[in-house]
Amino acid sequence: MSTSHTTRTTPRATASAGARETTEGTVYTVSGGDWDEVAEAVTRRSDDERIIVNMGPQHPSTHGVLRLILEIDGETVTEARAGIGYLHTGIEKNLEYRTWTQGTTFVTRMDYLTPFYNEAAYCLGVEKLLGITDDIPDRATVIRVLLMELNRLSSHLVAIATGGMELGATTVMIYGFRDREHCLDIFELITGLRMNSAYIRPGGLAQDLPPGAIEQLRDFIRKMKKNLPEYDKLCSGNPVFKARLTDVGYLDLAGCLALGATGPVLRSAGLPHDLRKSDPYCGYETYDFEVPTTDTCDSMGRFLLRLEEMHQSLRIMEQCIDRLEPGPVMVGDKKIAWPAQLALGPDGLGNSLDHIRNIMGTSMEALIHHFKLVTEGFRVPPGQVYTAVESPKGELGVHMVSDGGTRPYRVHFRDPSFTNLQATAAMCEGGMVADVIVAVASIDPVMGGVDR
């Protein structure tokens, strides 16, 4: 925990906290060490036990650059505020200066733990604006669902792993990252990249599944069915784990709806609201799966929900593999489909040399078309749409406006982490300082998505 101020006057050997007088009161810079010493130093100086702790933005257990401003009285948090904006990268502004297809490269980097959801929400929006939603090939839609559910696993695994690490349960962390690595291996096999893949494109996918992908997916499902119960064995019945999570980060249904919380936070309050069921997209209405809920409204409930959702995701993935039929993965309209035939070249993944040789050597028109589509892009009729997908964190919505040009006129992402993080104050105030960490971990915010 640290403030933005540093001091060099205090010798390190005597205390881990340097003190400095300011007009606001005494400012301590704490950089690890024994909390008791700081508490003692504070009480020695005044009778008032009320201090303001500035946690972050650089702190391992704040999930990135989240800054928490806590007013604490002894060990009790009396007021909690979240400060964000430290990872703002202007993605929404940048999108207005690129073609519609280039946008996927940006949005995939927002919530970097759920790249396929960002891409899918964005592409569904572009397709709705174009009016080609029904023309997307089935194979592309099934692969989108497959990747989204695999991504739900990898995101929940990180949520559970980092949540465990913050409690000191490093085994949970090792397990979580071990299994997430299996997910990323499959992402790499299919898209060429572990993260930020820009694989889902307006109109379909960048390319088809490579050979061996189905076998690896089947292996993965088999492996995860064996591994997932380990989390249950390790945590669900563990008295220490239960004691730390139960009744911590409490937010009931009325609070969730008022604060707009969605995803596991809302479902832990007992409402089975899931966009995959209530407002289906990508054909989710045809898949057989359940939306788990708990009525405990607390961090333990959210942990158990994430575990169960991973089982459900495996179920959906199995159904996806069963219904994969050979076919195109890009819309038939050549005015929209990028003429991409990717191959691995000496400078990375790019257009295959054979394809380039073909269009450059045999067809002038194909070359012009390729050039126009890649540099200028396609035009999208004017209007606005809102599309939303159920990301592992909640409702990921995209509000998209087109003015009829080759670039988005305005794209706004309603990121679930951003909205859910507002619940920090409601979840933490009145609780203990140590429980703030657990409550924030149960929201599972990713600052890349919060700040965009």
Binding site: I84, G85, H88, G90, E92, K93, N94, E96, Y97, R98, K128, L129, L130, G131, I132, L257, A258, L259, G260, A261, T262, L271, H273, S278, D279, D333, K335, I336, T375, E376, G377, F378, R379, V380, P381, P382, G383, Q384, V385, Y386, A388, E395, G397, H399, V401, D403, G404, G405, T406, R407, Y409, R410, H412, R414, F418, T419, L421, Q422, D451
Partner: protein, 237 residues
């Protein structure tokens, strides 16, 4: 959609002449300063957004519109004044609301048992600098979990008077969303408990998501060639 775009030589055909004109563009390739040698300087394009729709709207839209208008009448508000325009486009329903009535409309949408839009997914801003008197738009999406419905509210205000009543006391979730829209567009949400910047530093000048705010960026050298910054590249208006 592809048929439309082919017909007009790459430019999508206007969807009827009823659309609302928000801008007129001329030329191409973004050659707006100095002599345009592109040969396209005579090109004119009118940007038309989908215009007002007439009944029946289709699906559940008629029911929502009826209930909302009825509920407003009961409260002594003339629906014609509160709802400036109703647009149905791409299976989505948009109510354009006069800004003074926004809180009352939002409260009605949330509380009326036949409407029950419990969840607000925040507010998004849009800047149309060429649409005089309606430059800034605040767009709200409301979701009814009870009835599985989704509607959109749109409020437009002039740049000279960018004030919209806050809906934070109706949808507390809009706290951060309104701060974000203020931060990026300079729309002032009256009645917000603490309207401060949220993404940009507190002392930041200007509103970054406005169209007249430059993107910035520097040219990059790649394999010996200068690649201009994204906002300096050719654009196809």
């Amino acid at each position: 959609m592809s048929d439309d775009s082919e017909r007009a030589g790459g430019v999508p055909a206007p969807r009827g002449n009823t659309g609302e004109t928000i801008a007129r563009r001329r030329g191409m390739f973004g050659a707006n300063n100095g002599g345009d040698t592109s040969g396209y300087s005579g090109l004119r394009r009118t940007v038309r957004m989908p215009g007002a729709s007439s009944r029946p709207y289709g699906g559940y839209f008629d029911e929502v519109a009826d209930e909302l208008e009825g509920a407003l009448e009961e409260q002594g508000v003339d629906p014609e004044t509160a709802i400036e325009k109703t647009v149905v486009d791409r299976d989505e329903l948009t109510f354009h609301i006069a800004r003074a009535y926004l809180p009352q409309v939002a409260r009605t949408l949330r509380d009326d048992p036949a409407l029950r839009f419990e969840l607000c997914t925040g507010v998004s801003g849009v800047h149309n600098p060429a649409d005089t008197g309606r430059e800034l738009h605040a767009v709200y999406h409301l979701r009814s979990i009870t009835h599985s419905r989704l509607i959109r509210l749109e409020v437009s205000v002039p740049d000279a008077d960018p004030h919209i009543p806050s809906v934070v006391d109706i949808y507390p979730t809009n706290d951060w969303h309104e701060r974000e829209t203020f931060d990026f567009f300079g729309i002032v949400f009256d009645g917000h408990p603490a309207l401060t910047r949220i993404m940009m530093p507190d002392d930041w000048q200007g509103f970054p998501q406005r169209k007249d705010y430059p993107l910035g960026g520097i040219p990059v050298e790649y394999k010996g060639a200068q690649i201009p910054a994204p906002d300096q590249r050719r654009s196809y208006s």
